[in-house]
Assembly symmetry: C2
Homo-oligomer: 167 residues x 2
């Protein structure tokens, strides 16, 4: 399997900047981290990731607010934002946060616990310049939904960085 | 892509016991967590995971000893053990550790930083009953090495649990 083209371009951009990246994943469950690490030389920028599948891991490890989770559940744009910003802090080493934090939260199906549609996903990218989030509704199987979300959050990160360059 | 058969059987066994599982991954970089989450109903047991790609994440997040990492690097049987045991603690929620911690550390290539062979991998499974580790040397591409390690650590976990059942 060839590496994801967005992952390749994103890692090249990160290396050019001397920036690091980390992931906070719910429904994609490690696929975003794996897509980055799939690129040879990823270790120059890829610090690591948190698979926060259980809602309590989102809360206790990533610092997503309890009230937010209780009011809206885990599939919400602010949860994606707090996950992406949280992982920048959580993967700090020697007091230095990760430069870019990616997040995914959504419903891969087959069922939906909260009555939200299967395929609803929020993607997030937090950088030192700010935050970019997207709402998506995917069609397909559980696997297809997760793979589309993985590709899209990598593309969103690339867009966020290239946009930041042009500022 | 069909779910990994070991992941399906492992999650069935975990659910039967009311046990949780978490992952601490280096070279597999999220593939083990993704293989578990690929199984419908994984949320009953799968708590989450840490992708500890950077050695400092192994140290700071998972509690792998600094002296061990400095003396032997990250590809070492004791590192695998400390990762598997560490993730049980790190993913605790409400004071309750994860029951089963899986770990992978090794060299996916193409190069090897420490002169150890490409394809050398240590796999670990920590449970309340103890620890089981394996050394493997895989052949193939970077992707093939990571996928073999993913399948084998899931199979090792299943073996460790079924063994524990028979005690």
């Amino acid at each position: 399997m060839a590496p994801d083209p967005s992952a390749v371009a994103l890692l090249a951009e990160l290396r050019h900047r001397g920036w690091s990246i980390g992931t906070a994943e719910s429904l994609t469950g490690g696929l975003v981290a794996a897509a980055l690490i799939d690129v040879s030389g990823a270790s120059a920028s890829m610090r690591g990731g948190i698979v926060a599948y259980d809602t309590r891991v989102k809360r206790d490890m990533l610092g997503v607010e309890r009230d937010l989770l209780e009011a809206h559940g885990a599939v919400h744009p602010e949860v994606a934002q707090q996950m992406a910003e949280g992982v920048r802090r959580v993967l700090s080493v020697d007091g230095s946060p990760v430069d870019v934090g990616l997040s995914t939260t959504g419903i891969a199906g087959p069922g939906s616990p909260d009555g939200q549609p299967v395929g609803l996903v929020y993607l997030g990218v937090a950088t030192p310049k700010g935050y970019a989030g997207r709402r998506r509704v995917y069609e397909g199987t559980r696997d297809e939904i997760r793979r589309q979300a993985t590709g899209d959050v990598l593309a969103l990160a690339l867009e966020a960085l290239v946009g930041a360059t042009q500022e």
